[in-house]
């Protein structure tokens, strides 16, 4: 049975998302990380539009528009301004052993595909085969948060995780109710502002955005 064209597009988007997740995992430059994040948002918006078109779910158009606006434009712009102000535009992060992290990431992908297999069979959506990729994106973003030592990449990891969740929601059940989606979008925006303020605070307190310095806060 041939796969319909829209499904093929969605599958390609999913593959791109996974690729970007891996790219983010190994990217050491903050600026490129933000570019990747914007690209991820864009692909997410495209894939949501395709899903909306192919399944006639009109509310998904609004979701796609919201995603495009927020995740591909607003948040990256805020992040650009932030790193500009913090003057860490050209920062290169030191990370331990990127190949190892990639291998762990591979294992996570296998794990999430294995996990998603029974759920995909139950789901009746056109996007059911992408659920594993969505979960892998979530886990990879989580892994990215763990392996980064600077504050800004960690926040990007957090936002990418939210992207993964959104993708999982679209692929499993054609998206969450509109109210929930609006709420989450607002949460992410507000969270971004608050974290931005925190960056400045952390830097004034520790002269660096390296979170290793926060170990000093621990009581003995």
């Amino acid at each position: 049975m041939p796969i319909p064209f829209s499904a093929q597009v969605i599958n390609m988007c999913a593959a791109l998302l996974l690729l970007i997740a891996f790219a983010m995992l190994s990217q050491r430059r903050v600026l490129s990380l933000i570019n990747l994040f914007a690209l991820q948002g864009l692909i997410l918006a495209v894939s949501t539009t395709v899903v909306a078109y192919s399944s006639n779910q009109h509310h998904l158009y609004y979701s796609a528009a919201l995603t495009l606006l927020l995740k591909a434009i607003v948040l990256p712009v805020i992040l650009y301004k932030l790193i500009h102000k913090l003057d860490i535009r050209w920062d290169v992060e030191t990370m331990f052993n990127i190949p190892t992290i990639m291998l762990v990431g591979l294992l996570l992908v296998v794990f999430s595909f294995n996990l998603a297999a029974p759920i995909s069979q139950m789901a009746g959506t056109i996007t059911k085969s992408t659920l594993g990729i969505a979960m892998a994106t979530v886990l990879l973003s989580f892994l990215m948060m763990i392996t980064r030592s600077k504050a800004v990449p960690q926040v990007i990891g957090f936002l990418a995780m939210e992207n993964g969740l959104f993708f999982a929601a679209t692929s499993a059940t054609y998206g969450m109710p509109m109210v929930v989606e609006m709420g989450i979008a607002l949460d992410v925006l507000i969270g971004m502002f608050i974290l931005g303020i925190f960056f400045f605070q952390i830097r004034t307190a520790f002269d660096s955005l390296d979170l290793a310095h926060m170990e000093k806060l621990k009581e003995d």
């Binding site: 794990f111 294995n114 996990l115 029974p118 886990l139 989580f142 892994l143 948060m145 763990i146 392996t147 980064r148 030592s149 960690q154 979170l211 290793a212 926060m214 170990e215 000093k216 806060l217 621990k218």
Partner: protein, 668 residues
Amino acid sequence: MFASLDILPIDVILGVVVFWLVLGMSGLVLRNARQITQFIFPLGALGSLVLAIAALPGLSEVNIAILPLGLPDLPFHLRLDALSAFFLLLLGAASIGISLFSAGYFRHMKMVELGPLCLEYHLFLASMALVFLADDAYMFMVAWEAMALSSYFLVTTDHDQPEVRRAGFLYLLIAHVGAIAILMSFGVMHGGHGDYSFASMREANLSNFWASVAFFLALFGFGAKAGLLPVHVWLPEAHPAAPSPVSAMMSGIMLKTAIYGILRVSFDLLGTQLWWWGAFALALGLVTALFGVIFAAVQVDMKRLLAYSSIENIGIIMVGIGLTIIFHTSGKEALAALSLTAALYHAINHAFMKGLLFLGTGSILHATGERHLGKLGGLIHKMPKVALFMLIGSLALAGLPPLNGFVSEWLMLQAFLLSPGLPQPYINMLVPIAAAALALAAALAAFVMVKFYGVIFLGQPRDAGITAHDAGLWERIGMLCMVLGCIALGLFPTFVILHLDFVTNMLVQSSLGSSAVQSGWLLLTPIQAERASYGPLILMSIIVIGVLLTMLTVKRFYHGRLRRGPAWDCGFPEQSARMQDTAEGFGQPIRQIFEWFVGVVRKAPTPFDKHPHFHSEIHDRLWHLIYVPIKRANDMIGYQIGKLQHGRIHAYLLYSFVTLLALLAFVQ
């Protein structure tokens, strides 16, 4: 006696409990310290008297009451039966003297401390009464915890001293560990069906394994309150820290709530009993008794000494309970009744004797401000009345006839001597050894009392700076009540045993009364007249006649030729107080014999010391063997767990990541 008025004994007892609570509250309202000491405490004593009188008819009837208090649908069940009535009698009778003594003892206290103390004191009394009345686990635990907390605050009355705070904390800690064990024991006895009332626990049919678990949890939990080994460590710390009437109350009465709990659980709530429980309790009691008495012999602080002596007496009571279980499970009901009678008798005796001695130490402490035996001495001249009371108390605790301590220890030894013929051959062989150990403990207790009394009251004052005066009126009245109790319990054992019959009938379905009075009420006969009998009144009259005859003879033949001169000075030109035996010196032989047991740390001076100073300290080896390792293990586990939290965000993220993966793998 209340039948004509149609008032049940339990109603009167509840009335007394409410009365005590009101008295306690008034301590917060009244503004005048004099009012509290002159009226509230004597009124509390009146309540005790009413409680004791109301408990007497309670011995022979069962009353049930349900209080509409507590949680919704979970009312408090109360029950007055022979066992509770006996312990309520003990509580009421022994607290009369203590409350009267408190009226005098606390008279110099500042109002800001006296008000709360008055509340805690009466709350303590009321909660102990409710412990004895409780008929469901919920009520029992509420009363038990109220008792522990109020006594904790009483112990820490002088909380400005760090060692008092430390002692209070240790007491609270062990009390709570014990309370958890008791709670778990109730949980096991509950058996998974019915509610938590004692009635349904009696119904629950436990297997031998679970019954044993419940018994040993209860033994541990109540043992923590009673001061059984190895959870005895709070006693020698808390008793010296507390004000003397509080020590008297805790040692005399509160320790008995634990005895009550053990009896209630093992004889009433648990349907079955196994003989080896008895053997274990017997061994534990013996070890505790010997431990307590040996440590008492080497103490130099008078209240600490009495605290260790309390451990010894609780051990003796446990020996009686263990023996009762052994006899009861082997079907020897008459012997079970005998040993249970001995244990209960010793419990009420100890309440009076130890209460009296602690009150006496309170008077001494007030008069001299000194607890250390090494600084006291010769107080018989300055405090003659207290000296007389304390002499009677010491003789009673030493177990000398015709006072009360002798009766219970004699009954206990009789139970041992009559024991041959038990079905378990090993127990049969070990019983004589246990009897010998008990006799050793009793003899050492006499030694301890000689030391206690001799060092404090006889000889010359060891510290010239100490001034003393006799106790005030209230204090003397309080002590007199306790003395009268000691004498009455010693001289009229048959009457006491007739009342104890109700309890033994309830617990072991047999009684001593009929055989005890077979030779008339003058003679106490445990089993058979041919074997042994004891007539305290006859003995008393022989002693009195003997003393009178001697005095008359002396007066007749040496009249007028008596002269007072300096004591024989052994060739020394002059004697000083430093030449007499000290408390350490008196305990030296015991310390020498049991050195491996008590753990002595000595600091001897070198030959070149300009100011040589010898220092030796007694250590509780169990502290190092059990408590220090537990503390270390606790610290280590805490440290290891603390390592989890090292302030690195990545690690925290990793924890949630791993948890997420594990959960995902789990739901899959």
